[in-house]
C-alpha cells in the first residue's frame, strides 16, 4: 500500500476511542462488554432499517386485499377477507392489462435496440483508430451528465414533427437514444478488456469485420451485455419522465404512467383498493425477478459505478 498523503481528518470522538483502545492491559472483560453493546446497537440499527424498507411494501400488499372502508378506517388492520376482486378489477377495468402490454412492447423493443446499437458503436469506438474517435466517444458519454429535461422541450416537437408522438416505435427510439450514453460507456470499457488475438485470427482466416463482430466478439462480450442489459431493462421498465412528456395518448400509457393516472382518477371514482392492487401488481414481478436473479441484478446495477 502506498500512502503519499496525510490521512483523512479524524473526528475527535474517534480519536478518543483510539486512546481508550490503546490503553494497554485494559481489563479484558470491559473490552468484551463494550464490544457486545456496540454489536447489539449496530445490529439493532440494521434491523430497524430492514423493517423500514419492508414495512411499506408489506403494507401495500396487505392493503391491496382490503375493501375501501377498512383502507380508510383502519390502515394497519389485517384484511377481514382476501378481496381478490380488487386485483381482477384493476387488471380489467383499470386497464392494467393494457399498461403491462404497452410496457412489455416498449421495453422489449428498446432493450434489443439499445444492446444492438450500443454494442456496435462501442465496438468500433473501442477497437478502431480513426479521426474523430475520441470526439464521438465523449459526445456519447457526455449525455450521462446532462439534464434530460432540457432536451425534452424541443424533443417533444422533434418527435411530433416526425409523426412519432404517441406511438410505440417513437417511444422505443427515444428510449434507445437516451440509453446509449451509459451503454456505450460501459461496453467500450468492456470491449477494451477483451483479447485482440481471437479477432485478428478470425480476420486472417478471411472473416469480414462484420462477421468477426457478430460471430466472435459479441459472444465473448456476453457477460458485459448481460450486465448492461439488466441495467437498461430496469431503467426502461421503471422510466417515468420520458413517457410522461412524450406519450400523452391514454391508450399508449406505460405502467408507471398508467398507475399515476389511475391515482389521479381514483380521486373521483374512489376505488382505492383497486389502485393498491394495481400498485402491487406492478411491484411484484420486478421484486420476484430481483430475488431470483439477485446476484446478476446487483452486478448489473453496480458495474458502471465501480469502473
Amino acid at each position: 500500500m502506498k500512502t503519499t498523503e496525510t490521512p483523512a481528518p479524524v473526528p475527535a470522538e474517534s480519536g478518543a476511542s483510539v486512546s481508550k483502545a490503546d490503553a494497554p492491559a485494559g481489563p479484558p472483560s470491559r473490552e468484551k462488554r463494550e464490544g457486545t453493546v456496540l454489536n447489539v446497537f449496530s445490529h439493532g440499527i440494521l434491523v430497524i432499517w430492514a423493517i423500514m424498507v419492508v414495512l411499506p411494501l408489506l403494507w401495500a400488499v396487505m392493503t391491496s386485499f382490503k375493501d375501501d372502508a377498512s383502507i380508510f378506517g383502519s390502515p394497519w388492520s389485517l384484511p377481514d377477507a382476501l378481496h381478490f376482486d380488487n386485483w381482477s378489477r384493476a387488471w380489467t377495468q383499470a386497464n392494467m392489462s393494457d399498461y403491462f402490454l404497452n410496457t412489455v412492447l416498449v421495453v422489449g423493443g428498446s432493450l434489443v435496440g439499445t444492446l444492438v446499437l450500443g454494442s456496435m458503436a462501442a465496438y468500433v469506438l473501442a477497437r478502431f483508430d480513426f479521426p474523430g474517435n475520441r470526439f464521438i466517444y465523449f459526445l456519447f458519454i457526455g449525455g450521462m451528465s446532462f439534464p434530460i429535461m432540457l432536451a425534452l422541450v424541443p424533443l417533444f416537437y422533434v418527435v411530433n414533427n416526425m409523426g412519432l408522438l404517441n406511438t410505440i416505435h417513437g417511444l422505443i427510439l427515444v428510449y434507445i437514444a437516451y440509453s446509449l450514453p451509459f451503454t456505450v460507456f460501459f461496453l467500450t470499457a468492456f470491449f477494451r478488456t477483451l483479447p485482440t488475438s481471437v479477432a485478428e485470427a478470425a480476420f486472417v482466416d478471411g472473416a469480414s469485420h462484420t462477421r468477426t463482430f457478430f460471430q466472435i466478439m459479441l459472444p465473448m462480450a456476453k457477460p458485459g451485455l448481460i450486465s448492461v442489459g439488466i441495467f437498461n431493462f430496469l431503467g426502461q421498465w421503471n422510466q417515468y419522465m420520458l413517457p410522461t412528456v412524450l406519450n400523452t395518448d391514454p391508450d399508449k400509457r406505460v405502467l408507471t404512467q398508467g398507475l399515476v393516472q389511475l391515482a389521479v382518477s381514483q380521486g373521483y371514482k374512489g376505488d382505492w383498493s383497486g389502485l393498491f392492487a394495481g400498485l402491487v401488481m406492478a411491484m411484484l414481478p420486478v421484486l420476484a425477478a430481483y430475488v431470483v436473479f439477485q446476484r446478476q441484478v446487483v452486478a448489473g446495477l453496480t458495474a458502471g459505478a465501480l469502473k
Binding site: 468500433v124 439534464p147 432536451a151 480476420f203 406492478a282
Partner: protein
Amino acid sequence: MQHGKYRFIVGFLAVPLGVYALFVVWPFIQSIYYSFTDWTGLSPEFKMVGFDNYERMLDDDIFWKSLQHSLLFALLLPLVTLSLALFFAFMINVGGRRRRGRPVISGVRGSSFYKIVYFFPQVLSIAIVALLFAFAYNPDSGAINSLLRGIGLDSVQPLWLGDPSLALWCVMAVLVWSTVGFFVVLFSAGMASVPADLYEAALLDGAGRATTFFRITLPLLWDTVQSGWVYMGILALGAESFAVVQIMTTGPGGPDYSTTVMVLYVYQKAFRDGQAAYATTIGVALLVVTLAFAAVVMRLGRRERLEY
C-alpha cells in the same frame, strides 16, 4: 486489419450515432437556441429576444425557490444517503463481533440478507415508490399517522405533504429511502476488495472500529464515494426529483411552491403554461447547475489515488 476498415466503421456507427444525434444532441442544441427567443411551443412562429428570458428568470421568485430546493437536493441528499449507506455497509461487512476461530474481519450475522432487503427499493420504479408514500403520508388515513395514533401519539398528527414547512423533507426522505440500498451494495463490493491484512494490522495496533473506518475504509473507498456522490447528485437534480415532486406533492410543487424543483418548473412552463422558450431558459440554468455541481465535487474530492 485495414481492408474495408472505414466502410465498416461508418456502417457500424451511422445508425447509433444518427439516433443519438437526432433525439439527444440536436434537441440540446435547439433548446439553448430557443432560450433566446419568445417561442411559445404552441405556434411555429417566434422571434429572437436576446437575453429577455434570462432577465425575466432573475426576477422570478419561483425560479429562485426552485433553484434553492434543487441545490438542497444535490448537496444534502447525497450527504445523508451516502453517510447512511457507508455506515450500513461498514456494519454489514466489518462490524461483526470478533469470534474465536473465525476470520478477524467479518460482517454481522445475516449480512447477505440485509444486502438483499436493502436493495428492494432500487428495483422499483421511483414513480411507484412515490405513489406508495403519497398514500402513507396521507394525514387522515395514511399509514404513518395511523401508526402514530396506534402507539398513543394522538396529538402528533402532522399534515406531512400538506404542511409547507414539512413537505420538502417528506419528499427528500422518500428519495433517501429508495437509494440507500444501492449504495450499501456498492460500498459493500468496494469494502470486500480491501485486503483483510490491512484490517488485521490495524486491529493489532489497537484501533477501534471508528478509527478503522475513518483511517482505512473511507480513504480506500474514496473514489467510489466520490463517483457515487456525482451520480446521486445528478439524479437528485434530474429525473428522480421530477418523479417524486410531480407525483407526491399538491400542485405539483406545492403547497405554496415549497417543494418545487428546477426540473419540475421546466416541465410546467413548457407543457402546462405554453412558455417553451422560458422553459428552455430555466433548463439552461439547470444545465449550468448540474455541470458546476459535478465539477465542484470532482475537484474538492480529488485526492491521490491509493493503491492496494
